[in-house]
Amino acid sequence: MSFSPLRSRGSLSGVLFAAVLAALGVSEFRLHWVESLLGAYLASTNAERPESGMIWEQGRRTQSALSVVEQMAGDREAQQRRARNAGSLGEVLAVLAPGQAVMLSAEHFRELYQRLPPALAQELISPFELLRLAGEGRWSRTYLERSSDGLMIYLLEPGNQVLRQFRLSDAPLALVARRSEGVEQTLEHNPAFRGRIYAAERFFAVLAEMGDEERRGVLPQPERLLGVAAQIVRVGVSDEALGGFVELGFEIRTPSGPRVLSLQGQDWAVWRLRARMEGRREGGAAAPLLSPADSRGP
């Protein structure tokens, strides 16, 4: 029997290898070090891994859904806030695009109604009917919905039952808008004033010559013009009467360009004023209207 040191070294290393393997295996079953190491490595690289899988997908959908709702609710709230602060129906209209709507309290709508030109208010709903509804105590809110061709107004009771509904078509709506804050344009843009545009100086001079009752007839709310900071340069008078009132357009010069503010005067008084401005007798044939300088824009 011969002894080979090389062979014994090989056997020893094999045994050692096997022992190490066994020790690793047993220690893994006892100490779970492979899982722990791998788990720790995974935890340390978590931030670099993709947000994938069902739960992340669901999270994204939830976030997207919440932001959609947030946008809807936010828009609606902002619209409501602007509508609540509105001082005229025109300001409410300016808030609304077609398809949008706002809810106002009955009291707020009554205030806006009172500020409407009398003819338009009458066309919308009779003040006596409004008084009756207010007196019954069931009218609590008003819903205004802008459509492509006008404005729907619903008077509602607390349970949202519609008590009355009416439509305001585009033409009076445009008047409301012009009246509230003016429109960025010149008088020539409104066909109703064509051929009846006068220099403001002349308009106010003739107005000053008229009697007090006539002046009140032409300008029932002069304080609206007094509140205008810019200079009034021209005045347009419509040829159409609506419910006994005629539209007057006041062109003002502002730093951003010309604007036209609309007011309404009683037809009989406005016609008298026109007759005087045009130098004809009231009820007589029309004389030539304006000098070329009068009709020129600012």
Binding site: G10, H32, E35, S36, R49, M54, Q58, T62, M72, G159
Partner: protein
Amino acid sequence: MRRTLRLLLHLGLLLAGVVAAAGWVYVFLVLRDLPRVPEPLSRIIETPATEIYAASGERLLVLGGRELVPLHRISPHFLQAVIAVEDHRFWEHRGIDKLRLVKAFWVNLFGRGRLEGASTITQQLAKNLFFTFRRTFERKFREMLVALHIEARFGKSEILEAYVNQIAFGVGALGIEQAARSFFGKPASQLTLAEASLLAGLPKSPTRYNPYRSFERAKERQRTVLRRMVATGAITEAQAEEAFRTPLSLRPRSRETPASGGYFVDWVLKELEDRYGSDVVHHAGLKVFTTLDARMQACAEEAVAAGLARLDPLLKPPPAAEGESPPRVQAALVAVEVHSGAVRAMVGGRDYAESEFNRAVQNNRQPGSGFKPFVYYAAFEKAGLHPASVFVDQRVSIPIPGQPSWTPRNFSGEYEGPMILKRALAQSVNSIAAQLAQRVGAPAIIDAARRCGIKSPLTAVPSIALGTSGVSPLEMASAFATFASGGTRHEPFVVRRVEDSSGRVLEERLIGGRRTIDAAIAFQVVDMMRAVIREGTGRVILQLGFQAPAAGKTGTTDDHLDAWFTGFTPTLSASVWVGYDRAAPLRDVHGRGLTGGRAAAPLWAEFMKRATEDEPRREFPIPPDIRFVTVAPTTGEPPAPWGGRGMEVALRPGQASFLAPRGEDPTTVVPLGAGP
């Protein structure tokens, strides 16, 4: 030899090294695509719930949202039970139960078709959160890696908490809190050992072990859970035995689950999804306030259940299709508020759990004679006729260009001769309805139906007078409500208001109607439909004890395929349909066909009796230009003193002015001209 062995050993070691290296490469490749784990884990549980409420305040359904319930608010019995049955070494392993894995590998390899899983609770959590349920080796491997990550990052309690808050128990319950409330009507903290062990068995297969479907299977599973608890030392044998014997009182499936009002809720969800999209409805935590009246809904469900239970033994079921059981008769009921269009109750079938097809909305079945009120309205409006106009009930043949003539028959097969129109509607005389259709034309009838609210496609043929175009019960209830409201049409609706999770209003419904038909003519038709209940084909309504002022019309189609009753009080309009889903006649065991009066009207009467029992008695408002006159039902003349009972008819100004109004001297009257 020795050299060869050494070579083999080296080759083996080399191969093992290569395999190990390839394994590590594979691991790192897989690692790159592993999903990120959210921190904290509770973030994955908390999603806002969309809640749907009845008008009466009850919560009808909660969609999707969950709130994390901490472990200390969960019964320890449940935690012990779920650990015992799902992963008894949960507290010891680091995400993978290696012994169980080896055993499962062995069984799956040599177990002759047996499959054994070895997923730990952590692995199940990883699977539920990130992976699909497709079983592949790679998915399993990735799931194990994520489990290791979760174990390394989070504590055992956090993992267990996340797990029990997101597992599915069936019946729409996700998480132990929802499960405890759905099955036992109590919070998870109050679950007893018996209840906890039943619930702990469900996640393995929520459908198979659903106690509402198979209580025995659920009990067997409970026994397994209890045995595992004994084996793990969580409880003693005696405790397990006692828990198994403890009777379980499952919560009746009621308003919190879709079983009640399920059809209604489905329709609400469909409307919301059309408007907002599915993601917003299911994930944005909306609060939806509907029109449903929970008490009325319960009345409707009970009326339908009782009515079908009464019909089942009477009916001879149609033959079954091959390999299927005989079809069961179905019913639908829908009730609409007359002055708003709000849908107050809806039953779309016999059992929502059995069939989600909503017959109250989606069905398109012929209404038969139920369509006649529109015919009479059109005849009064277009042809100047009125309830006292006389027509002759006789065999008629109506020519149709290019087709054989249409010869409608009366239901009884007999003809009675002359009669006034009020009597003709009360007795549902087909020959006279056909004559009216010929007189005014199908387009006029369709126009009347459309103005009342019928939206289904209607075919312009003379037979439309007998209801040959399909409609839904919702359309019928809503269209008849237009008569009841005196001619004002209200669109039916189910959603009153929608809010976001913080209570900001997203939309609210305005309740407004539009006059679409004449009030006085509408009243004349209503008055005629009152006669249907008082003395016509709907007499059963009175016989069953519904005494409030009401009007309605029965409907039965050819071959008895459909039975209808649609009727209303001054405040509530309801329509009932009874029939089979496939075209099969409603015949009793003697082979006789069932009519709307026999099959559908009793359900209507039962529902209306209970739905309106708390309401004060209200009469139909009479338009100011209506006057009542009593005439002989066969001649339209004042009834002779010796000649039987007269019939009161409602007339408009100018109609039969020679007839003295009620209470006046009728001596100067002349007979009405007969109709064609």
